[in-house]
């Protein structure tokens, strides 16, 4: 068994700019004496094994980029939405690629690389970085900082409404030796601003040997409105432990959509903190698993103040020998009266060798609230399959159609056609590939 944290501590990053160095120092202290095995013994990792992380030496960071031309070709095949429809920021193996990105931000927006931050920007970064993530202590947040070479601070200025979405592409490629990608982005929406962020995690076609540890922090000031998409479509050998942390102030609105295709080990922690009255969070998510994949979504919606609303719907189609884990928590803090919170997790289990472990949690410390959660694990309706079969559709195709419908109804919640089309295409492709005649569900 490979001691991931121990080796990471023994291979410190070369000294970079001053403030990143102090971030590394702080993280070193946080990681000292800790073990991945201690983390896996906690309730948070009850259903997910961290063994994959200890099978190879992931303790070093990526080597410099391969040739950008080559990457551009890869990107054009796998990138999220059409590049011309977005402001693009591309990271290759965790490092910012100026060649592949639109370096010039749109009016009213600032893109600041962590390694280049200074003056006013540095003050803003220091004031906010980690303040969201620190509310949920996890060793992987510490390790993210320990490995962080660079990152991106995106600020949308007051009352600015973006014309096009900002697309962030996190690309990993196969390297000679297995490695860690530590990536971080801090997005701040100033009061009254409105933006769309589309994050895609993707990889080239080769068998992957990367471990991505990504943290995305979203800071929504008063009245800000953000649509956030996060799509995981890395090749299935890529490991990923990531997190999204959001702080919502008064009347801020966050509408997020998560989509994940499985991998050897994929885990995403989503925490939404409702800190100002009138804040509203909507989260939709889907996971599609087959083969020996493992996907774990841990979400937590924290209602700190009164009069906030949250709604969360996650759906999964789980086949092959895969395992889906979902843990969705609604936490109503004392005094957070007049809260309206809902959560639903529905799963289709399409194979006897697959497993679903779901735990919707409610933790409530205020009485005048309306909270509800529900979870189901079931299979497709035999009558519905039969109905389609009587119309000349093969059994496999009928199952694919119905499974597609089960997930696709979430897409009705995606207001932007350009996003809806893109996500539909990914889901479509998945079902065509895996639920064909010799599909992975049987």
């Amino acid at each position: 068994m490979f001691d991931y944290i121990g080796h990471t501590l023994q291979n410190p990053l070369p000294v970079t700019s001053g403030w990143l160095e102090s971030l590394h120092q702080k993280a070193r202290l946080g990681a000292l004496g800790r073990k991945v095995s201690d983390e896996s013994a906690t309730e948070s990792w009850k259903y997910s094994s961290l063994c994959a992380l200890e099978e190879n030496n992931y303790a070093t960071t990526a080597k410099p980029d391969p040739e950008p031309d080559l990457l551009d070709k890869t990107l054009s095949q796998t990138i999220g939405i059409d590049k011309s429809n977005a402001h693009n920021l591309v990271f290759v193996n965790g490092l910012f690629s100026a060649e592949l990105s639109d370096v010039e931000p749109p009016p009213g927006v600032e893109f600041v690389r962590f390694s280049h931050a200074e003056g006013q920007h540095l003050t803003s970064i220091n004031a906010s970085l980690g303040t969201m993530a620190d509310k949920h202590q996890s060793i992987f947040r510490v390790l993210n900082e320990l490995h962080l070479k660079d990152g991106m601070y995106i600020r949308v200025n007051k009352n600015v409404e973006l014309d096009k979405p900002i697309q962030i592409v996190w690309l990993t490629t196969r390297q000679a030796q297995s490695y860690t990608v530590s990536s971080r982005v801090l997005i701040e929406l100033e009061p009254g601003s409105k933006a769309q962020i589309f994050e895609t995690f993707t990889s080239d076609d080769a068998q992957q040997n990367s471990f991505t540890n990504n943290v995305t922090e979203l800071l929504l000031r008063e009245g800000a409105y953000l649509q956030h998409f996060r799509v995981h479509q890395e090749q299935e050998d890529a490991l990923h432990i990531g997190a999204v942390h959001a702080d919502l102030y008064e009347n801020a609105t966050l509408k997020s959509f998560h989509l994940a295709l499985g991998g050897a080990l994929k885990r995403v922690d989503v925490a939404v903190n409702l800190l100002g009255e009138g804040a509203d969070s909507e989260q939709f998510g889907a996971y599609l698993l087959c083969n020996d994949q493992h996907m774990d979504y841990h979400t937590s919606t924290e209602h700190f103040v009164p009069n906030c609303t949250s709604n969360e719907v996650f759906r999964g189609v789980v086949g092959g020998r895969s395992k889906a884990v979902f843990n969705g928590r609604i936490h109503i803090h004392p005094g957070a009266q007049k809260t309206l919170a809902r959560l639903s997790n529905k799963n289709l289990l399409t194979s006897d060798t697959a497993e679903v472990d779901t735990k919707p949690e409610l933790e409530i410390y205020a009485d005048d609230v309306q909270c509800a959660h529900g979870a189901t694990v079931a299979q497709l309706d035999e009558l519905a399959i039969h109905y389609l079969q009587t119309r000349g559709i093969s059994r496999a195709k009928a199952k694919a159609l119905l499974s597609y419908g089960f997930v696709a109804m979430l897409l009705e919640q995606v207001p932007e056609p350009v996003f809806a089309e893109h996500i539909t295409a990914i889901i479509n492709h998945y079902f065509q590939r895996h639920y064909s005649e010799e599909g992975c569900d049987e």
Binding site: E43, Y47, P334, G335, Q337, N347, L349, T350, S351, D352, T353, A354, E355, V356, D357, T358, K359, P360, E361, L362, E363, I364, Y365, A366, D367, D368, V369, Q370, C371, A372, H373, G374, A375, T376, V377, A378, Q379
Partner: protein, 479 residues
């Protein structure tokens, strides 16, 4: 509602909180193998049982008290507890009611538990357990006619050793968990029930548990075996005096439902919950589990209003094909009470079904958590579960939580879970008051309606008692 009226009702005295002044044989505090040998010798137990206890004790020493439940309490000093206490002269067990100390009979009369058969509610046989000892079991001859064995477990060890040896620890093993291991080592008494093949038990069976002595723990063990095709309905009730210190109650209940049999197990738990400031009260750390064989049916119904802390997850292992498990619960917490309770349904056989209906009511500064597990293993095809957990919050200082674990590995299983949280709304109260109902009556009516699904599962006498108990514990907590 006026603040005065509210205080009056909240401060409602715990009616069962008196102490019976009776001389007891109580073992000094502390636990080691000698104490276990003493308990075993006192009960004249066979060697195998002593060894069984010692094995449990050795397992217990290796274990740590579980800390995952959503409850807070200071660490228990297990050496400060006395592990055996019996009313003086009762060590050998009374031969008949005439030999029972009148003071004891008076205690049970005061609690409303009839031990004289002529006064007893028609159709309910009672086993009364006082501290560590079973003091009386009624209607034994009538039950014997039907072949039903209903006696204390100490007596069963002597008279039916094969049955006890065959089934004891088969559902909850000695090393199952920390408190079950402790119970296996020191259990003093409890109830034993055996229903022979194809017999429908002619009356309700009931055990009444009473903790009296200070600084003692009560560790009873109940074993119920329903042989093939039989049926039994069993009720238990519990109370304890009001004392400032916390007392430990760590019971184990094992149910064995053989093919085609049915066991209905109902509990009205009213241990002393501690005073309004959270001082004193019983720590109720109980392991209850049933094993359902082919076509068997096990149903747990509980109304939990007492105890400072409740840690209890009545479970059913659905081993046989077509077996059914049910759990109906009302858990009420007030003042500083804490409850972490729920159920586990383990689906192993094919076409097994389970239902969980849990109603949590929190008031005052209490915390009430539902924690449950529904597990379907790969071979349990056709398994079906429905879970519903509803919480009612009364006042803005209480807490209600839901932690349901759902694990499914079979593609033909259907599992549904839903939970809601609400309060007694001002609109509901206003509507009732407008129609001439006093606020207290209205709350009581709304709460009763909230719990209806569970109450209808209780035998009639218990349903009435449970309704009253809720009224006393809760009424008026709404301002």
């Amino acid at each position: 509602m006026s603040k005065q009226a509210l205080n009056h009702i909240i401060n409602n005295e715990y009616a069962a909180g008196f102490v019976t002044d009776i001389e007891s044989d109580t073992l000094p505090a502390g636990l080691d193998e000698d104490v276990i040998a003493f308990i075993s010798a006192k009960k004249d137990e066979p060697e195998w049982l002593l060894q069984w206890r010692i094995n449990a004790y050795r397992e217990w020493l290796k274990m740590a008290a579980p800390d995952w439940a959503h409850v807070n309490f200071p660490k228990i000093d297990f050496d400060a507890i006395s592990y055996y206490s019996s009313p003086k002269g009762m060590s050998d067990g009374p031969k008949s009611l005439e030999e029972v100390d009148p003071e004891l009979l008076a205690t049970y009369a005061k609690l409303g538990i009839p031990l004289h058969e002529q006064e007893a509610l028609a159709g309910v046989a009672v086993d009364a357990v006082f501290d560590s000892v079973s003091i009386a079991t009624t209607f034994r001859s009538k039950l014997a006619e039907a072949g039903v064995i209903f006696c204390s477990i100490s007596e069963a060890v002597k008279q039916y050793p094969e049955l006890v040896k065959k089934y004891l620890g088969t559902v909850v093993s000695q090393a199952d968990n920390f408190y079950a291991a402790l119970n296996s080592a020191v259990f003093s008494d409890g109830t034993f029930v055996y229903i022979p093949k194809d017999v429908r038990c002619p009356m309700e069976l009931s055990t009444y548990f009473r903790i009296n002595e200070a600084k003692t723990g009560q560790f009873e063990r109940t074993l119920i075996i329903a042989d093939e095709g039989s049926y039994v309905s069993y009720l238990e009730g519990c109370t304890a005096p009001m004392r400032d210190e916390n007392q430990l109650h760590a019971a184990v209940v094992e149910l064995v439902a053989l093919n085609d049999s049915e066991i209905k197990y109902s509990t009205v738990q009213n241990w002393y919950p501690g005073d309004a400031a959270g001082k004193g009260g019983i720590y109720n750390f109980v392991t209850k589990r049933g094993l359902a064989h082919k076509n068997a049916h096990i149903s747990w119904t509980q109304v939990e209003t007492g105890s400072a802390i409740t840690w209890k997850y009545p479970s059913v292992i659905l081993l046989g094909d077509n077996s059914i498990g049910e759990f109906y619960s009302v858990a009420l917490t007030n003042n500083y009470q804490q409850a972490d309770t729920g159920s586990k349904m383990i689906h192993i056989g094919k076409n097994t079904k389970s239902t969980i209906i849990s109603k949590g009511i929190s008031a005052g500064k209490s915390s009430n958590a539902y924690r449950g597990l529904v597990k379907v293993i790969p071979r349990a095809s056709g398994a079906r579960n429905y879970t519903q957990c509803d919480s009612l919050l009364i006042g803005d200082t209480c807490a209600a939580h839901t932690f349901p674990y759902i694990e499914s590995s079979n593609s033909t299983a259907v599992i549904e879970h839903e939970a809601t949280t609400s309060k007694v709304s001002d609109e509901q109260l206003y509507l009732c008051q407008q129609r001439g109902l006093a606020a207290e009556k209205a709350v009581s009516m709304i709460v009763n309606g909230f719990c209806k699904e569970v109450f209808k599962e209780l035998p009639m006498e218990f349903a009435v008692e449970a309704g009253k108990l809720l009224e006393v514990s809760l009424e008026g907590s709404v301002g």
